[in-house]
Symmetry: C2
Subunit: 145 residues, 2 copies
């Protein structure tokens, strides 16, 4: 794993240790992490703090030019909300740990010109599959059937 995906993975692991859903993200600009975060659904009862959103929030208010030249790293394929945030801010490159346990809105992102790279990283996949198997009710709580 490269250093930035490792940082996203570490965020996910931090979330897991807190009893939360293990999804983590970092935003990289000019070779430096400007925001990092992880899913806080359990920890804060939050409906909006997914890993990507938490990283965006922690990056704070940035000018459009910074977002345009940033790369978002996320351990799991981004859902509709996080993909929408990527489109809103004009982030042009997204690197995804895996999309085997959940397929997000990659097609929508591609159709809008976002460059997507999927690493199919086995550590990311195992982390998510283990979590879903151990807490299916939490995973299915909000968007489940």
């Amino acid at each position: 794993m490269d250093a930035f995906m490792q940082a996203a993975f570490d965020e996910a692991q931090l979330g897991l240790k807190e009893g939360g859903i293990p999804i983590g993200s970092v935003i990289v600009h000019g070779g430096k992490i400007i925001g990092r975060g992880h899913n806080r659904r359990v920890q804060e009862g939050s409906a909006t703090k997914h890993g990507e959103m938490d990283a965006l929030e922690n990056a704070g208010r940035q000018p459009a030019s910074v977002y345009r030249d940033s790369v978002l790293y996320t351990t799991l394929s981004p859902c509709a909300m996080c993909s929408g945030a990527i489109l809103l801010y004009g982030i042009r490159k997204v690197i995804i740990g895996e999309h085997e346990s959940f397929m997000g809105e990659e097609e929508l992102l591609r159709s809008r010109g976002v460059q997507i790279e999927v690493l199919d990283n086995p550590e990311c996949t195992h982390m998510m599959k283990d979590f879903i198997a151990s807490k299916p009710e939490l995973w299915n709580e909000d968007i489940g059937e």
Copy 2:
């Protein structure tokens, strides 16, 4: 204005009084407001708390069945991030105060089966146009050219 759009408008006005961007939203389930919010970009330096996101956050963790039967009221056409959140949570009806000062992702929402109603409410339109005219740099800060 009906009572729910009025509540969204009141949220927007509250944001304006706080020195913020005047966009407000409420989420209605079973004829009752279960979440309300307004844009907090200025107040909290937040990149993710748009009116709709703040209302979702304040509604707290809800089961999928509640979102599916909820109606989102928002004073302004929802951006890509907020539209993504609407899709994520499967909210099936969105009532929009106006889309003259900003056209959000209404087409995407419609293409995914979300029912959209645009009120073209003059109070909502004037509120937004006045704000953009008075603070264009704030309006253009993050997604501007």
